[in-house]
């Protein structure tokens, strides 16, 4: 097991990703717009308000709303999880840049599209886990998180299959997501001690 990540490393990492992608971070609890979104999701019966505010990091455009203070671990958001979610959310920024307005519209209106966008961002979770621990992360539990996003069971199955295939590529050295590439560029240079020991050739 490689060394623990330090709070100042997490802060520097987030700063790197924000500069690379032109994003800003907002504390979710302080954001009026997130309170409104939480209320709407609660009324629609999609997601409990408190759960949305405390358990989910959310990206709108280039703003990332976090339920934690970057660099300060709290329940459910240890320091490594803060790194991983940073990469995941920045892949949503990549999607926003790549797809334009159709990303936001499809994400809200189309459950299959929502599952597809989230599955793509979850590939970053797989990639970061492999870099850090040297073993593939189980992909099925990630796909099942999509049940919380109002996705249909058949969408979850497609996501699970796509993530299983992604894992096959990742263990062969593929970097699938742009946000992961940006993350690994920083980590390889500034925190190489966090990387899993490479097997001897």
């Amino acid at each position: 097991m490689s060394a623990e990540i330090q709070p100042d490393e997490v802060v520097s990492f987030w700063r790197h990703m924000q500069e690379r992608f032109g994003t800003t971070t907002v504390n979710k609890a302080d954001a009026v717009e997130m309170q409104i979104v939480a209320g709407v999701l609660d009324v629609l019966g999609i997601l409990d308000k408190e759960r949305f505010l405390e358990s989910f990091t959310t990206t709108l455009g280039r703003k990332i709303y976090t339920p934690f203070e970057v660099g300060s671990p709290n329940d459910g958001w240890d320091l490594w999880n803060q790194v991983v979610v940073c990469v995941h959310e920045h892949q949503h920024v990549v999607q926003h840049d790549r797809e334009g307005l159709s990303f936001e519209v499809s994400y809200v209106a189309d459950r299959a599209a929502r599952a597809r966008f989230e599955a793509e961002a979850y590939r970053s979770n797989l990639e970061m886990h492999f870099w850090r621990f040297g073993t593939p992360m189980r992909s099925r539990p990630l796909a099942e998180l999509l049940q919380d996003y109002g996705c249909r069971p058949e969408d979850v199955e497609i996501a699970a299959h796509s993530l299983a295939l992604a894992n096959v590529s990742v263990r062969r050295g593929a970097v699938l997501n742009e946000s992961t590439r940006a993350a690994l560029d920083w980590l390889d240079n500034h925190a190489p001690h966090l990387r899993a020991q490479q097997p001897a050739a």
Binding site: D155, A164, L165, A166
Partner: protein, 93 residues
């Protein structure tokens, strides 16, 4: 202005939702040029990965390939980006 915005939203929504399904079998995969695709639950082909971009990001050539592997989570069968040097041992389908 509002009408234009709404028209734009409808146009964006229709760009996918109003297109007839491709008719593929959900969960099936394929390679199209050097991109892997998966058939979604609504029977549309959707891109999984552009293997040319993966090559640029991974420091070596990757190609879209058919894989059939036993993993910790069970058997994984389908198309994905694999190192191009594996091409000899795993035929593309």
């Amino acid at each position: 202005m509002v009408k234009l915005l709404l028209l734009g939203l409808v146009a964006v929504a229709c760009s996918t939702a109003c297109r007839p399904p491709d008719g593929c079998v959900p969960r099936s995969t394929r390679c199209l040029v050097n991109r892997s695709q998966i058939c979604d639950a609504d029977r549309y082909w959707r891109e999984l990965s552009d293997c040319d971009r993966v090559s640029a990001q991974s420091g070596g050539p990757f190609a879209c390939r058919y894989v059939d592997e036993e993993t910790e989570e069970g058997r994984v069968v389908g198309h994905t980006c694999m190192p191009a040097t594996d091409a000899g041992s795993e035929a593309s389908r």
